[in-house]
Point group: C2
Chain length 414, copies 2
């Protein structure tokens, strides 16, 4: 299949062009969903769709689809390729954008070659994958898959007080199509790994076979604010110390197990947060992830049991609020094997892997066979201006996507 390759220069140029849109005076890149800067990015993407001769469709949640309908595909379900072009605050240029622009590049290459696809091929940029401005994240794909009511999503209040539906109308991306109007036959998402595994192992292609389940909780511990100098250790109800015990418990448990479970405490605050006052209250987040639902439930149960034990031992009050919960997703084995085959035929090392992050693919997997392709992230860094993948890896990943699409485009595939 190595007779055909994507236009590397065009792909890299588009990634850089899109990555230049939404920079502030100090050069920080931020294109929050449905913002003014994201509108400029959307307009740029649509102009590329036009340039490639694709049919442009926008649905009511603002997902942008670029549709290639080769002759004779009739009303067959499309192959869908894509990701998102919104970003976090102070972002890198690859997260999401790479997958969208590589998908466009693949379609444009196939179209230019007169490739005989048995199905339409669609590139999609889903709205609000990052969830920074409007919660939850992966919103556009979730609505597309029917997992979130459209009107509820449009009514979402942003962190800046805006309403998503109003903002989409304002920037001209409240489309006419019902989300999900074009049900995919299969969905493939190419993405940077956002983790260190591929780079550390020197492997350019990851065939993503599943995606971790995610459990987000907010834990609040209530103790007594007392004077740091006058309260003997034995008389303390120290919420901060109790919080520290939870953090070390989670780490010790994750480290001691032979599983891929990860546990992270990323946010914390103490009250009153004074140097000479024992914390009366500690609030912190717990992010638990595991590709196996039973094991994720086990981890949640182990945390709950530890909190009960801690409340009694430290004489503190503990309450837990669930912030988010996604079950693990298993991707389509056949597509994963196609990714491995394509990499092999290109002479690229490949490994099966688990996605630690959430992606639009996990939502679309509800309605179509799906999988993902990862390329290495240098240093595992993402959501950060230092996010980087080498040009060579970017091009190699896009060519693997090209080959997988060519296989899937055959009449009887899947």
């Amino acid at each position: 299949m190595n007779d055909l390759s994507i236009d590397a220069a065009r792909l890299l140029e588009r990634i850089r062009t899109l990555g230049a849109i939404g920079r502030d005076e100090s050069g920080r890149l931020t294109r929050l969903a449905a913002s003014d800067t994201e509108k400029v990015g959307r307009d740029q993407f649509v102009s590329w769709l036009d340039e490639a001769g694709l049919e442009v469709a926008v649905d009511r949640i603002g997902n942008i689809l670029g549709i290639w309908r080769p002759d004779g595909v009739g009303d067959r379900q499309p192959l869908m390729l894509g990701s998102h072009i919104d970003t976090v605050i102070d972002a890198g240029i690859y997260d999401g954008c790479y997958g969208v622009l590589a998908a466009l590049e693949v379609i444009q290459t196939l179209k230019a070659q007169g490739f005989a696809s048995s199905r339409p091929v669609v590139v999609v940029a889903f709205t609000n994958e990052e969830g920074v401005r409007y919660a939850p994240d992966m919103m556009g794909s979730l609505v597309y898959a029917g997992g979130l009511d459209l009107d509820a999503a449009l009514a979402t209040l942003g962190t800046d007080g805006s309403v998503l539906g109003d903002e989409l109308r304002r920037i001209g991306y409240a489309g006419a199509q019902e989300p999900g109007f074009f049900k995919p036959h299969a969905y493939i998402e190419l993405h940077i790994e956002q983790g260190p595994v591929l780079e550390r192992e020197g492997i350019p292609v990851g065939a993503v076979q599943n995606l971790q389940g995610i459990s987000w909780q907010m834990v609040t511990i209530e103790g007594d604010a007392n004077h740091a100098g006058t309260t003997p250790i034995s008389m303390r109800r120290d919420a901060g110390h109790a919080a520290a015990r939870v953090i070390t418990f989670l780490r010790d448990r994750a480290k001691g197990s032979n599983t891929p479970t990860v546990a992270t405490v990323g946010c914390i605050d103490f009250e009153p947060n004074a140097i000479n006052v024992i914390p009366s209250r500690a609030r912190f987040t717990v992010d638990l992830r595991d590709p196996d639902e039973d094991r994720l439930k086990e981890e949640e149960a182990a945390l709950a049991a530890f909190l009960d034990h801690l409340a009694a031992e430290e004489q503190v009050g503990i309450s837990v609020e669930r912030l988010a919960r996604f079950e693990p997703v298993t991707f389509d084995r056949r597509i994963v094997e196609l990714v491995e085959k394509a990499a092999r035929e290109r002479g690229l090392a490949c490994r099966r892997m688990t996605s630690g992050a959430g992606h639009d693919a996990q939502m679309i997997a509800r309605i179509a066979p799906s999988a993902m392709i990862f390329v290495p992230s240098i240093g595992g860094i993402s959501h950060n201006p230092k996010e980087h993948t080498t040009d060579e890896d970017l091009v190699a990943g896009a060519n693997v996507l090209l080959d997988v699409v060519r296989e899937l485009a055959r009449k009887d595939c899947l």
Copy 2:
């Protein structure tokens, strides 16, 4: 000595009157040093000094002295009694004020009785003991004792951008006297305990024999911000987890030792403080206290050794900034014994104890034999509107102070 007692009603009434000054619309009490509300409190105190017929002196750092010079005392050094009348934010009414108003009450009682003191007796309200608006705390007494340069203290920039010297002038309390102009023969400070010990043991009087040394440090741990989902536990440099290990280390060490050492982590923050990002940075305060200087040094060294070990084990960078360091203070044994004797003769249970908090007495101890008397704090609560001491205990403490002053006022005492 029980022939004479203070005027309980007058003392309690004054405590309540002063405690009503500086309340905001919602009833919160705040009289920060040299603020408009503190000026009203100072004016009230001075009017009571006038009413008691005392000579009023204000020094250049704003300390207010009410001086009683009985006939025949000549130029003998005074007995000095006092504390402070500035407060923290959302304060209780007893911290500091009780000691100042009880001292005034004692002097007024002795004066009215024509008590033959061999020395002047002075009540003092030191400026900025709390240190909330201007650092360091205990500033007025520190300057009075010659431990901080007057001009440097007056140039102190407040948390609100004000300059202490300007504010003292503005509120009319930039006095003419050089701080320390009246060197005390002895100093006694009556204060609420601000801890739970006396109440829990049912003892109304504490004879404070020493004051803990205080070591304040800010610890900063630097790791790597990486994605919480994609970074295997073994590849993490998690600054938040390392911080939690320090907190549990300090607690385990304090709990495991048979010493009065206390260790508190009161402030913490993580960066970037995002639920799905491993903390790249954790900053937290460590408050270590011990009445024994050697032991305090040992605790500091143990923490430093643990941080070294942690930096290597967790592959994180750790830096430590010293915020404050006060050596323990041992009070004058003779005065402590006079407190015990006075309590005994009043039929009050008394125990020797260590002050866990800092007080003006620790500064004046540099220039004169000093000691403190504690009364119980209900629930050990202080720096809080719930701060409370029963009227009975307040009156008992003031009478013990009265008796101690009568002993010290004898010609050959100390």
